[in-house]
Symmetry: C2
Subunit: 140 residues, 2 copies
């Protein structure tokens, strides 16, 4: 995979966010910076990064794919519904439990998806709960 200007731009844009962002949001950020990158290229690059395990993907309630640069080890997410603030969490017991459940029912090639949603401390404190962006995170 060639490190083209476009791919570098998408990858750097991802790093500018601490929370999960959609392909279109990333494209918008690049546009506002006058980085000319086609939307199709943003989609292609994000898919490639996800396939390579360099970013995590999760679907929001609208079915939209959201991307985030995460640590390399297996983990799950605690995500604020209001602002998107994300915490990576690990639970060895949960990992064991899912494997045990699958074995118990004879299922093989097991994987799992686990996300925790809630309202983060910042959003709990603020009187008007935001719905369109993070509180104090870089986004451009």
């Amino acid at each position: 995979m060639r490190p083209t200007r476009q791919r570098r731009a998408v990858s750097e844009a991802l790093s500018a966010f601490d929370d999960f962002r959609s392909a279109q949001q990333i494209h918008d950020l690049l546009c506002s910076r006058d980085d000319k990158v086609g939307l199709a290229t943003v989609y292609r690059t994000l898919s490639a990064l996800a396939d390579a395990g360099e970013v995590d993907v999760l679907r929001n309630e609208d079915g939209e794919s959201l991307y985030r640069r995460c640590s390399a080890t297996h983990h799950h997410h605690l995500v604020c519904r209001a602002c998107g603030a994300t915490v990576e969490v690990e639970g060895p017991a949960v990992e064991r439990w899912t494997r045990a459940i699958a074995r118990e029912h004879g299922y093989a090639q097991v994987s799992h998806e686990l996300e925790i949603f809630g309202t983060c401390p910042a959003c709990l404190g603020s009187h008007d709960v935001p719905h369109d962006g993070p509180h104090d995170r870089a986004d451009g």
Copy 2:
């Protein structure tokens, strides 16, 4: 909510499946039975049932919504990737863990999503793995 012929048909169609099915699959089943129900009505009825907590919803990897009549208590699913065979599973320890993690980070109004995917015993045994339907489940 009026118990119309259409809503009854959708509800009964759901009961004919043991695994998760899409709105379009349910619509197809009704058509093949000469139950005249519009696709929009199928979507509306499934949404209403999901809102009422009468059916569980999960999104497949394509972002499609799948529906299943489940038990009323909180549970998760062990789903076969190949044929869709579904087992309801419960894990009190996981429930405790998610609450603890959320509290630890100060998140409130916590919910979570957890699905386990794998290959069921029947699909492991069969030589040509099916990709379009369950093994020996009612679907008509």
